[in-house]
Each structure stands twice: as structure tokens, then as C-alpha cells.
């Protein structure tokens, strides 16, 4: 199991020492044109999570490729570039211009943009034609049947899935006004974990693709639960804000978590999560 960051939850150029604690660094989503992002306030703490409405702030594809990517390469870390856009061609053009990185993550699920994108499968198909690099489709659990989306992007040529993105939410202040200037934002943190575990479970069953699991991972035990549900790797998001040492801590705790359950391998953990005792059918 490798530990990555969730896209948008770490700036490797601002905090290279934190990025080096990861097994691979995932960039903030790159869009064709520069985006200043949403007006502040952009973040709000909630009972068991946080909302963000950053709005895909990024320097745009040209500047990213010319200035940021060369500096990221100097970190000598496996790199994943998160690509975003508003139609399949946007994504495909970014994919065609990327090389010498480990993988591309297609952000098919940002909750903080209003523009309707083409369907996930159309975007993946266009990107598949544009690159031979591994393509990971980052999906939202807001879809009523995330496994169906998983199957569609797998058929379109995705090599893996990143599960899950944030879910839309609203927080109000004491005077009942939205805390975020944008109104709504993406909910992250521990609130997401059960939803993410479900998405990983059903997408693994539906596709068999490798999955980077994320959503509320705070500890090695949390990471093990994602592995048990079928994730090959995990990504840390919100926990990095409070604890920049989380990658090393989670890695150390993972070994303890395996021992506490009394299993040794991801396959053993998966067998437990799939055992008939834990998967009960609801009577018809």
C-alpha cells in the first residue's frame, strides 16, 4: 500500500519536506486556463469535517507545464498530475502534453465549479486516445450508483480509480448566513469515511481496477479499512492540514493495525471485509 496526498491538499513547492514523506505526490488540479479560485472565506470547520470552496485555483496548463512541473520534477518524487476541465477536449489536451510522470488523475468530480462537464466516460475515452500514461478517474460518491460510473470509465479505458472526492455541503454562521462566500463547498474529513468505504467496496467489485482510496483517513487503522474494502493505495487529505507528519504516522500505525486484527496481508484483510459474516443480505 502506498500513501499519496489527495489532490489539492498539499503544495509540494511550498512544503517539499511534507511531500517527500509521501510515496507519490498528486498535484492540485490543472485546468486549461488559469483560475484565481473562489472568493474568501473558502473554508469552514464542521462537526466532523470541513468544507472547502477553493474553486480549482491553479496557474493554468501552460504555466503549470512551463514553470511548476519542472520545479516539481526537482523533488524527484513520483508525480501524478490531476487534470481538470469543462469538456473532454480540455482533459485530452492536458493529457497529450504530459510525459515523464507516473500517472494522470482525471478530476471528474470537483464540487466547486458550476460548469457541466461531459460525461465521465466520454472524458476518459478522449484522454485514453491522447495518452499512454496510466489514467486514474477520480469519481464522486454523489452519483446514485458510483459502481455504474466505475464500470463506464473502466470500459472507456481507465487504468484505476481514485475514490472519493468531497461531497457538496453548506455551513451556516450564527446569523444563519453561509460561512463560505461561494455558499456551498466540498465536505472532507472523517464524515466521509463510511461513504468512501462503500464506494471503494462496490467499485472494486464492479471493476477490479486498482483503487486509491481516500476520504477521512486519519490513522493507520483507517487506511487498513480502505485496504480491506479493496483499495490498493490510499491518499491523505484533510488530515495533512492538522498533521503534516501524517504520512509517516499512518505508515507506522498501519503495521500495528494489521497486528491488532491478526492479519498480515491486504488479501487477508479483504477476506475479512468480504466474509459472509460481515456481508449480510437484507431479506427481500
Amino acid at each position: 500500500m502506498r500513501i499519496l496526498n489527495a489532490s489539492g491538499c498539499l503544495d509540494a513547492l511550498a512544503a517539499p519536506e511534507v511531500a517527500r514523506r509521501l510515496d507519490a505526490f498528486v498535484t492540485k488540479t490543472v485546468t486549461p486556463l488559469p483560475r484565481e479560485g473562489s472568493a474568501p472565506p473558502r473554508i469552514a470547520e464542521t462537526a466532523h469535517g470541513m468544507l472547502n470552496a477553493i474553486g480549482l485555483a491553479n496557474p493554468g496548463r501552460d504555466r503549470f507545464l512551463a514553470e511548476h512541473l519542472p520545479r516539481l520534477r526537482e523533488l524527484e518524487l513520483p508525480l501524478w498530475v490531476s487534470a481538470g476541465g469543462f469538456c473532454a477536449d480540455d482533459y485530452a489536451e492536458t493529457c497529450s502534453r504530459l510525459s515523464g510522470i507516473e500517472a494522470i488523475e482525471l478530476n471528474l468530480s470537483c464540487p466547486n465549479v458550476d460548469e457541466a462537464a461531459d460525461s465521465a466516460a466520454e472524458i476518459v475515452a478522449a484522454c485514453r486516445r491522447a495518452t499512454e500514461l496510466p489514467l486514474y478517474a477520480k469519481l464522486s460518491a454523489a452519483h446514485p450508483d458510483v459502481a455504474e460510473v466505475g464500470r463506464a470509465v473502466a470500459a472507456a479505458g481507465a487504468d484505476g480509480l481514485s475514490l472519493i472526492n468531497t461531497l457538496r455541503g453548506v455551513a451556516l454562521d450564527r446569523q444563519l448566513r453561509p460561512v463560505l462566500a461561494r455558499g456551498s463547498g466540498g465536505l472532507s474529513g472523517p464524515s466521509l469515511k463510511p461513504i468512501a468505504l462503500h464506494a471503494v467496496t462496490v467499485c472494486r467489485e464492479a471493476t477490479g481496477l486498482p483503487i486509491v482510496g481516500m476520504g477521512g483517513i486519519e490513522s493507520g487503522r483507517d487506511a487498513l479499512e480502505f485496504v480491506a474494502c479493496g483499495a490498493r493505495d490510499v491518499a491523505l487529505g484533510t488530515v495533512l492540514f492538522a498533521d503534516p507528519g501524517a504520512p509517516e504516522r499512518v505508515r507506522a500505525e498501519l503495521a500495528v493495525a494489521y497486528a491488532e486484527v491478526g492479519v498480515a496481508t491486504p488479501e487477508d484483510a479483504r477476506a475479512l471485509a468480504k466474509s459472509p459474516e460481515t456481508v449480510r443480505k437484507v431479506p427481500a
Partner: protein, 246 residues
Amino acid sequence: MQSSGSPSRSRHRVTGSEPIGPYTLLRLERGGLEPGVPGQFFMLEAPGRLLPRPFSLCLAPPGELAFLVDPIGPGTQALCELRPGDEIAVLGPLGHGYRLDVERPLLVGGGIGIAPLPYLAEHLGGSPPVALGFRSEEHAQAAALLPGAEVVVDPVLVTELIDPGLDVLACGPEPMLRAVAAMCPEAQLAWEAPMACGYGACYGCVVEIDGQLKRLCLEGPVLEGHRLIGHVRCQTPGMSGTAVSA
């Protein structure tokens, strides 16, 4: 000198917690932490909350770091309830503090914005003049942290005490800082914004700096007033800030 270096949290024991008017002065064992430059900030774990809260350093007694906390939300209330022997995680010092190469300093604080000024005054040396404004007599008890300060209470505003010919170093609520910047564009202002990480990861703390949305934790929190004029929108009293944290 003012970079975040290698961000790593460390755990620190509470050595004291004393009321100062409505505020609490929280003392922590310093351990291996550097106190940093006045105006830099630390992220303090707020027990029971997901996100840490940013605080500028108030005092740096030998072996300790002390932070002034205004209990205005669940995180700051949890910090005020800490007792000696409790432990919290601390990250810092972070960001850019005050430039200390000023000839005729005047320290200006409003409310909880008094927080970084005692440590700043100590660094500047020579008992610099201090002007403080508070919203009530109870809040004004915090002026005891800066003996000799000139103090006004609402409805009198602290800006009435400012000689614009001096090198102003200020911290306080946004309307006060805006008024200070209008009088003294070169004034050094400790700005604030909701902040989840403090080291450039969350992109949450952007404010309009030099006409563009930039991360306050990396660019500031101390900035010259003219770089902030035109800031897009008043921050709603929110989750956290360098002086006021909920």
C-alpha cells in the same frame, strides 16, 4: 529566517492557564520550538476539533511559549479549558512576522489583536510607545500585558491615538487595520483569515494581496497596508485567524 522550514508538529505540555480579562493566557512548555519572529504564528491543536487554530506568540518566557486566547468558538473554548499537565500538538513558527528595522515604532492593537505586541515590544526593546483600543473595560484588562500603553475604550477608537509619522506595527480587527492602512500605507499589519493548515497546503486563507488572491499563511500574516488595500471582501468573523481564533 522566517520560513516554515520542515513542518512537523510536536506535543507540548500546558504549564499554565491564567485569565486576563475575558481572555486566557495559555502557557506551553517550549521544548524544541523556536519562538520565531514577532508576528509569526503557531498552529495549536484545539482538543476535540478537526482543525488546529492559528495564534501569534504573545510572550516567550524562558522555557515557555504563551498565547492569548479569546474563547469565541468551540476550538478556542477547548483551548481555554486546558489545564497544566494537558498536552497539545503545536506547529510553528510559521509565516512572515514584523520587520524590526524600524526607527520610530508605534505598536497599535485592537482587542485580541494585542496578542503579538508584548513579544514584539520585547524584541524591539527600549519600551516602544503602544496604543490599544478595546470594546469594554473588561477587555481592556488585557492592557496589563503592556505596561505603559495608552488605552482607549469604545466609543473612542485607537486610530485617534496614532501619529501617522511613526512606523506603525499593528494587529487587530479588520476595520481597525483598514483604518490604520488608510492613515499609514506603510504600516505593518498582522492580517487574519480562516486557516486550516498554516503552511500553504489548504489554499483556504487567501486574501487579496497586491491585487491577487494569495495565501496569507505564506505571504503574511504581517504585510504592509498598501499591499492589502482593495481586499475583496470583509472576512466574516470566522473559524480562526492569527489573532482571533474560534
